[in-house]
Amino acid sequence: MIAFLIRRLLQSLLVMLVVALLGFTMFRYVGDPVAQMVGQDTPLEERDKLREELGLNDPVYLQFGRFIAATLRGEFGLSYSIGRPVNELLVERLPATLELSLIAALFSLVVGIPMGVYTGLYPQRWLSKVFLTVSLVGISLPTFFIGILLILLFGVTLGWLPTFGRGETVAIGGWTTGLLTASGLQSILMPAFTLGMFQLTFIMRLVRSEMLEVLRTDFIKFARARGLANRAVHFGHALKNTLVPVITITGLQVGSIVAFAIITETVFQWPGLGLLFLQAIQNVDIPIMSTYLIVVAFFFVMINLTVDLLYYVVDPRLRIHREVAGGH
């Protein structure tokens, strides 16, 4: 157990190092931070001086070393374009992204699981076929296109829902929430739907195939043979058995929700991490970009590690045997 734990931790550490290198390389060579920090009229000598002071003229390995050291200390520096500490900015934006991701995940679970159960139990009914078709359309429409169409319909044509932002937010301690105000709740509907749509179809299909598989097992056949009611068989036995993989995989999908939030947040101007990241790309704001990358990677690695450990605890033989679906 200890050896396994240490090995996994070391591997995770290695992954983080590679990610840091990747982030550093990417952002060191994309765009010119100096051009972004100064105005059009700033003289050349000023630019050169700034470049020197920022250490952008030093050898690359030195810059990378500095980068790692600062990251380990939890110092991500000041944003080039905003002039504020990056970690503060991230903390400020985190609630928006987490709330959106959470609502989207809940939405996809609450709607996706029943749909999946239904289509699994009654594969031949017309409603199942409707569900399956809808889910296919959901997978086939690009996220950004769904968002645009929703804005056009509910925001502009019908005027029912706000088209951007979080609405009014309430601060509770350091956390800002939009879930306690009417405008905040209205604002989250379209983005959460857009973001949850892909996960919903994914979960529905997963539940469906798990149900189909479980219903075929001897265990269910025996249950039926014992004379249990359909209801008890379906929900007491079959569903319960499908839930373990569903929950695990959903957990892993949280990572992809966070990544897809970049697109959704862009379309709806949702003031979260994804929007901050994309705006940072446009502004060539290196500290924000690399910090986002490292934070997100850390998040993914932690999820991965947790799932690995859980599997190990549940069944040591299962160690590496798990299937994760990639997003589009």
């Binding site: 051009a35 900015l89 400020e92 709806f268």
Partner: protein, 527 residues
């Protein structure tokens, strides 16, 4: 002056706000204000935004006319000595009085390391305190337009900065956040309340503003939201979530104007969009022509000029909202003249000129273009590529976000053969574009710093220098006419058009639009 100041019908029947009634203006812009420090970034929107909170010695009115602000009046004692008489009884937002010390402090701070507005006052200009409300500016050479850009040089409080450790502007290299980045203490009609960078900035009215007796606005609060996406910004305005939004993409104007609850406010902007060509290198960096530079040949430059159908661009790309220009400055800039006219669009003649210059089969060249800087910049470039293809010049387009674009084409790299750029003279005077865009490139002096194609005509340089120090307005006008004639004759650039300032406004709001695209809340009335 052809520059239209778009005043809105000022019927104020309902507009007299009841005392104590909240009047909130909510507006959206495509970019954001990253720092509240007024010397942090030399950029139109940032400075325009801060101009509602901070004030300069002078200010510009709705028609861009110079008005007294923190200086009540000024006089030229001798050509190199200007005296400014400061307004008395003015207080900063936190109650500190405004005095000559603050002006001296601000003059130092704006020229300090980390400031992006160092050009506002020459380094060798001396600022001398005569008494608490009188300040002299002594220059090394006569400069009749010394104060033209001071409407965006804002005065900060000396004692406030000292107490809060904000004496110097934010250093990009620093690790500590500067106090002035998130706090503001100006003398203007509005005071900063709260700020969430990139999300929302709130300001409220300043009850003690020196000009409250004559104020035009009826606001109590202003909420600014940055919305970078065009479609989202338009949707926010259409759905009534904001009262005002800009810029509005040209294609969406009809929709905003046609629905009864919002309307468009459009006027020509002072920015001129133009094409530049590398005329200095002996061989183009990006071309299949080796051993010579086709753009050195004036006939080739004329061919490019005549091949571009600027009216088609106006009609289709700009939807009628551009003013084709013969000059590199907009009407309304000091020195502009209606006497110049564009060369006719004539692809046949363009082909003939190319053949005459030895390029009967055309040639290939790369074009650099921004895709998020000017109105429909990328679409204009694609259109130009198509038009040049028709006369045989095969252009490959390299369109990029502005951050990468400017890094590539601006000095010192000048890494371009053919590019699209826009220019607004911050002083609203001809000298600025002549010196920056047309004077021979001299790296050490900053002269011709944005003359990316390396156009160079010593006569133009000499005339430009004369214009700077000539104090007689009439003689100055004649000089400007002469020098513009020379550059147009040389086809130094291919001017395209002035784009439009396009603001979308809700029906509850009345405001005044400025041709430099600056939004002043003090002209706003909300019903």
């Amino acid at each position: 002056m052809r520059l239209k100041t778009l005043l809105l019908a000022g019927v104020l029947s309902v507009a007299m706000a009841l005392p104590g009634q909240a009047k909130t203006l909510k507006f959206a812009f495509q970019g954001t204000v990253n720092s509240m420090d007024p010397y942090n970034l030399n950029e139109t929107f940032t400075l325009g935004f801060l101009g509602n909170i901070y004030e300069g010695l002078i200010r510009r009115g709705p028609g861009l006319e110079i008005q007294p602000a923190l200086a009540e009046r000024w006089e030229v004692m001798e050509p190199t000595r200007w005296r400014f008489y400061l307004r008395k009884g003015v207080k900063f937002h936190d109650g500190r009085p405004f005095t000559a010390d603050d002006v001296l402090f601000s003059a130092d701070r704006v020229r300090a390391d980390g400031s992006d507005l160092k050009t506002r006052i020459a380094q060798d200009t001396k600022v001398i305190k005569i008494d608490d409300h009188t300040v002299d500016f002594v220059t090394s050479a006569p400069n009749p337009i010394i104060h033209f850009e001071w409407a965006s040089w804002y005065i900060m409080s000396k004692s406030w900065a000292e107490e809060n450790n904000a004496v110097k502007p934010q250093q990009a290299t620093g690790t500590e956040e500067n106090f002035a980045t998130r706090h503001a203490n100006g003398t203007g009609p509005f005071m900063l309340v709260s700020r969430e960078t990139g999300v929302k900035t709130t300001a409220k009215v300043n009850p003690d503003w020196w000009n409250n007796a004559a104020k035009e606005h009826n606001l109590t609060e202003v909420v600014f939201t940055p919305i970078p996406s065009d479609a989202t910004r338009v949707a926010a305005l259409l759905s009534g979530q904001v009262d005002m939004a800009y810029p509005i993409p040209v294609q969406d104007m009809k929709r905003i104007d046609g629905n009864g609850t919002t309307r468009m406010l459009v006027g020509p902007e002072l920015r001129t969009i133009f094409l530049g060509m590398d005329q200095s290198r002996d061989e183009l960096l990006y071309s299949n022509v080796k051993g010579k530079n086709p753009f050195k040949d004036k006939r080739v430059r004329e061919a490019v000029y005549r091949a571009v159908d600027v009216d088609a661009i106006k009609k289709k790309v700009m939807r009628g909202l551009s003013t084709p220009s013969a000059m590199m400055i907009a009407p309304g800039i000091n020195g502009s003249s209606p006497d110049f006219s564009r060369l006719e669009y004539d692809p046949q003649k363009a082909k003939a000129l190319l053949a005459e210059a030895g390029y009967a089969d055309g040639f290939e060249v790369s074009m650099d273009c921004p895709n998020d800087r000017y109105v429909n910049d990328e679409a204009i470039c694609i259109a130009v590529v198509g038009m040049l293809a028709k006369v045989g010049i095969k252009v490959s387009l390299n369109a990029q976000p502005k951050a990468k674009y400017f890094q590539k084409i601006l000095a010192p790299k000048l890494d371009t053969s053919f590019y699209l750029l826009g220019w607004t003279p911050g002083s609203f005077d001809s000298w600025n574009p002549l010196y920056n865009l047309h004077a021979c490139y001299r790296e050490d002096e900053g002269q011709g710093k944005f003359n990316l194609g390396g156009y160079c005509n010593p006569d133009v340089d000499a005339l430009t220098a004369e214009i700077l120090s000539e104090t007689d307005a009439k003689k100055r006008g004649a000089l400007m006419r002469e020098v513009w004639g020379k550059t147009i004759e040389d086809i130094a650039y291919v001017p395209l058009h002035q784009q439009a300032v396009a603001w979308g406004v809700g029906s509850k709001v009345e405001l005044k639009q400025r041709a430099d695209n600056v939004f002043r809340w003090r002209h706003v009335k909300v019903q």
